[in-house]
């Protein structure tokens, strides 16, 4: 398989899962942009570069799945903290259930 098509395959797999990874990262605590971007970029294969997280955050906010507030930072400019909304939690819950089934099915066929 040529490297180009591996990238394409990864991009397709990422596309469906990444927004729920963002919601999951916000499930326990609010996070600011740099923190979210770095966490996702460091998780193997999730995002190709940190900046690509921001169009996604813009869409999630538009869809009402996340919200944001400004907070002072002890050692830098104020930060926009992203927070999961009630709709966001509901969407994440549905995804978790479906993902479990999907993963089991795919694993069974691949095995």
């Amino acid at each position: 398989m040529v490297p180009g098509s591996t990238n394409k395959m990864l991009a397709q797999m990422r596309r469906g899962a990444i927004e729920y990874c963002v919601l999951a990262l916000l499930r326990e605590q609010d996070r600011y942009g740099l923190e979210l971007a770095r966490t996702l970029a460091e998780a193997d294969g999730l995002v190709t570069s940190e900046g690509t997280v921001y169009p996604l955050l813009t869409r999630l906010h538009r869809e009402g799945l996340i919200d944001a507030t400004w907070e002072e930072s002890p050692n830098g400019p104020p930060r926009r903290y992203y927070r999961i909304t009630r709709d966001g939690r509901a969407a994440l819950k549905v995804f978790c259930t479906q993902w479990e089934r999907f993963r089991t099915t795919v694993d069974k066929i691949l095995a």
Partner: protein, 272 residues
């Protein structure tokens, strides 16, 4: 060696290229993405041990090229056409929020993300009695929002029915402080206009001047000119130095310091 202004220029250039790459998005989506990336850069720069070109270039490299970010934006369907289709759903969501949350918290919470630009829109959508024609003709005075934090400025602007967009710069003022605003306070602008806030994103380093041999008052004023504070030790007896003059300083002249640094000087008490 590059100075802080050059580093600011590298970042501004990157953001300008990003803005251009996002040309096919709506103005609001474009602004939101550019503002978020601008904030990312400012936070990442504030965490750098030193403001160097290598450090700044690494931050931009990790962000990816403006074209990569624009490509990601296109896969998110953030196009103007899609946006219009989604419009009513978003407004519906906001009305629901407005019913649960009252007051400034509401304006701040939503204003934070959108840059506050559409806070007046949202209020209009929550109160159908207000016609959209009045919005276009209503003018409001721009409040003073300099020398306060971004969150305070955001609240004042939301209260006046204005939005804002952020530009970060290097300065010797505390990070997060609004240094400049455009338009000027007192200007009359249409409701919902974005006020540009120039915010201190990273502190520039200051070279400590030589104050040895100056009187205590001269030294204080020399240091104040570059934003440094002075701590006096003594007076300490010294045969060679006239009474009241500074004869040692720490950090030494020529040192590079960042932020609110105090220079400790020793003042002569004259022959002991």
């Amino acid at each position: 060696m590059v100075d802080d202004a050059d580093l600011d220029a590298i970042c501004t250039d990157y953001l300008e290229r990003l803005r251009e790459s996002l040309g096919d998005l709506s103005a609001e989506d474009r602004r939101q993405i550019v503002d978020q990336v601008s904030e990312h850069i400012a936070s990442a720069r504030a965490a750098l041990p030193q403001q160097t070109e290598t450090g700044v270039r690494e931050i931009l490299k990790r962000l990816g090229t403006p074209e990569e970010i624009a490509a990601a934006a296109r896969t998110e369907d953030l196009s103007p056409v899609h946006r219009r289709k989604d419009g009513p759903i978003v407004i519906g969501g906001v009305v629901a929020v407005a019913l649960c949350v009252i007051g400034i918290g509401f304006a701040t919470a939503l204003g934070a993300f959108s840059g506050g630009g559409s806070a007046p829109n949202r209020e209009h959508s929550a109160s159908p009695t207000t016609g959209s024609t009045s919005r276009a003709s209503t003018k409001v005075a721009v409040p003073v929002v300099t020398d306060v934090s971004v969150s305070t400025a955001a609240q004042s602007l939301a209260g006046a029915g204005l939005g804002y967009t952020l530009r970060y710069t290097t300065s010797d003022r505390p990070v997060g402080l609004v240094l400049q605003q455009r338009p000027e306070p007192g200007s009359f602008v249409h409701l919902g206009t974005d006020v540009v806030l120039v915010v201190s994103g990273t502190q520039s380093s200051v070279t400590v001047p030589d104050v040895v041999g100056q009187s205590q008052a001269q030294a204080q004023s020399t240091l104040a000119q570059v934003g440094l504070e002075m701590t006096v030790e003594g007076p300490v007896p010294n045969d060679q130095v006239p009474v009241g003059d500074v004869f040692t300083q720490a950090p030494a002249s020529g040192s590079q310091v960042v932020g609110k640094t105090s220079v400790t000087v020793t003042v002569s008490a004259g022959p002991g």
